[in-house]
């Protein structure tokens, strides 16, 4: 029953597709042309990479990119380290208070740290971490999402493997490291990709907690760069925008399948 789509359907689907990709195509168009040619749609206007060079030098994007990478790595390392044992305990151990604790964990799926920005800012300030990279990562060191995701993965590990390891006298930590973590590798990859793209995109909390060039991540740098006084030079703004999404976009285009699979696998953010 593989019917070929009717013309109406094909056109409709492609119209939607065009609408969804248009912003990106336009950004590329504008960034590759001079300030005036970018606004007209002359197909033969000369192409230039000059805007990218200008944008790169107009604001400390390299530094901001480094900040983003450091923050994402901090969150990634902390979450892997903290969520792995917790997920294991929730998946495989029975202990008094487990269900209450798990319910407490799930609350964070509903209430993300940026909703509570006032108090979280106060907490971060009391640690003296306002305007620091650790301060940006701080509310994201723990993750209900991570615990939930890894718990699901660990529950799929055959009990017999765990038993065998236990009989060989391996303790909890070693079983975790030798049996569970290797078997949950696809989940870790999925979780990592989702986490990195989350931090690459995160804006509100970093905006609040940073106030200097030294600590701003890409999103905040980009937002400040494209405030109205800069905003009129669209070639520059679009070039900067593309520069800041480029690493993720290129990674996405290369690993498209894995990315999509990861988002699928993760189920929840």
């Amino acid at each position: 029953m593989r019917t070929r789509a009717s013309i109406v359907e094909t056109i409709g689907a492609w119209l939607l597709g065009l609408m969804w990709i248009l912003p990106l195509l336009w950004a590329a168009w504008s960034a590759l042309h001079g300030p005036t040619a970018g606004l007209s749609f002359d197909l033969f206007a000369p192409l230039t990479l000059h805007n990218f060079v200008r944008a790169w030098h107009a604001a400390p994007f390299a530094h901001a990119m480094l900040n983003t990478i450091i923050v994402a790595s901090l969150a990634l390392a902390a979450q892997f380290l903290l969520c792995t044992p917790a997920a294991f305990a929730f998946a495989r151990l029975s202990f008094p208070g487990r269900d209450v604790l798990f319910a407490l964990v799930l609350v964070q799926l509903l209430i993300s740290p940026d909703v509570l920005m006032i108090e979280n800012y106060r907490t971060t300030a009391s640690f003296g971490l306002v305007d620091s990279l650790l301060g940006i990562a701080l509310p994201y060191l723990g993750s209900a999402f991570g615990i939930f995701l890894l718990r699901q993965a660990f529950r799929q590990v055959p009990q017999e493997l765990d038993e065998a390891a236990r009989l060989e006298g391996l303790g909890v930590i070693r079983r975790l490291w030798r049996v569970y973590v290797p078997l949950a590798r696809p989940t870790y990859i999925a979780y990592g990709l989702v986490l990195v793209s989350f931090h690459w995109n995160n804006f509100l909390w970093p905006l609040i907690v940073t106030n200097s060039v030294a600590t701003r991540p890409l999103t905040v740098e980009l937002a400040i760069f494209s405030t109205p006084d800069q905003g009129l030079d669209w070639s520059l703004v679009t070039a900067a925008t593309l520069l800041s999404v480029a690493p993720l976009l290129i990674a996405f285009l290369i690993f498209q399948r894995q990315f999509v699979q990861s988002f699928l696998r993760s189920g929840v953010r």
């Binding site: 789509a5 939607l16 202990f95 940026d114 669209w234």
Partner: protein
């Protein structure tokens, strides 16, 4: 308690505790601290903020901006949720290999639908900012033949919120398309063969088979889009600053404005409590839906 049971109990707590501490510090503690702070005024001259009871809530009830934010939030949710869910489903059906009729260039199409998901809202906002520019922006140019040649989309109270809604829909539909696609790909192919034998039309097949089987996904997507409708403020911060005349101020944006531009943390806390109450309602709704649907994952 046997020895192994006691050992499990101790191990369990030791393994869970390190992960719980940051969660409590940045979710549970601030939730309670927000309730407490909402009963306090502004700290002046280095003294701790005075206890003022329900005064913040009383001024909130009289604050027209609060009501406008609430109304905007309702409009935002009432449009973003159904439209982006419907689009997400349509897009998934279009690019799914088994359920959709064959469309030329399906792989390309899927890429086009999915790419917005990995772009930061800030980047999306920058690009849309241009689209909405009066006069030479893309939308004005497209609408020029219809006499809208110089409309200030983001600067007019009537169109600024719809513009924010469009950007939100654009992002949400792309993101949740993936979940529908996953669900479609998990459907057994035998269903389609059976329907073909029965001579069911594609519409009947969709209505009687696909739609009911997608219910768990629809519920999951629904809950998440509802939560997002409280949280998607990045584009508002960049594109309109809640303006013009608070036309695009939604609750979370108002919290940000009161807390970090007027530095009135007591009042911002009271606003946050309303936001938390809204999320609490979502939790209850989720609970009710979960209770009734057995095959929710």
């Amino acid at each position: 308690m046997t020895r192994s049971k006691r050992r499990d109990a101790i191990a369990g707590w030791l393994l869970v505790l390190p992960a719980i501490v940051p969660l409590v510090a940045f979710t549970h503690y601030p939730t309670i601290a927000t309730l407490w702070a909402s009963l306090h005024g502004q700290a002046l001259h280095g003294k701790p903020p005075p206890f003022i009871g329900l005064t913040n809530y009383r001024s909130m009830v009289k604050d027209p901006v609060f009501w406008q934010a609430l109304r905007n939030n309702a409009i935002y949710a009432a449009t973003v949720i159904p439209v982006s869910m419907a689009l997400a489903m349509v897009m998934a059906l279009a690019v799914d290999a088994a359920t959709g009729a064959r469309i030329r260039g399906r792989a390309m199409l899927r890429l086009a639908y999915f790419t917005p998901t990995i772009l930061p809202m800030i980047a999306i906002a920058n690009i849309w900012l241009f689209f909405f520019t009066p006069g030479y922006g893309l939308i004005d140019r497209a609408l020029a033949p219809f006499g809208f040649a110089n409309w200030n989309w983001l600067g007019s109270t009537g169109t600024a919120l719809p513009a924010m809604i469009m950007v939100a829909i654009w992002r949400e539909a792309a993101f949740y398309m993936i979940f529908y696609l996953a669900a479609l790909q998990a459907l057994p192919p035998t269903l389609r063969e059976a329907a073909a034998l029965e001579g069911a039309s594609r519409f009947t097949f969709f209505r009687r088979v696909i739609w009911p089987l997608l219910t768990p996904t629809t519920l999951f997507v629904f809950i998440n889009v509802v939560i997002d409708s409280f949280r998607l403020v990045d584009q508002i911060i960049v594109m309109t600053h809640g303006g013009p005349d608070n036309a695009t101020t939604i609750l979370l944006y108002y919290v940000y404005e009161v807390g970090f531009q007027y530095w009135d943390s007591g009042y911002a806390a009271a606003l946050t409590v309303v936001l938390l109450a809204g999320l609490g309602l979502v939790a209850l709704m989720q609970f009710a839906l979960l209770g009734r649907r057995v095959h929710y994952r």
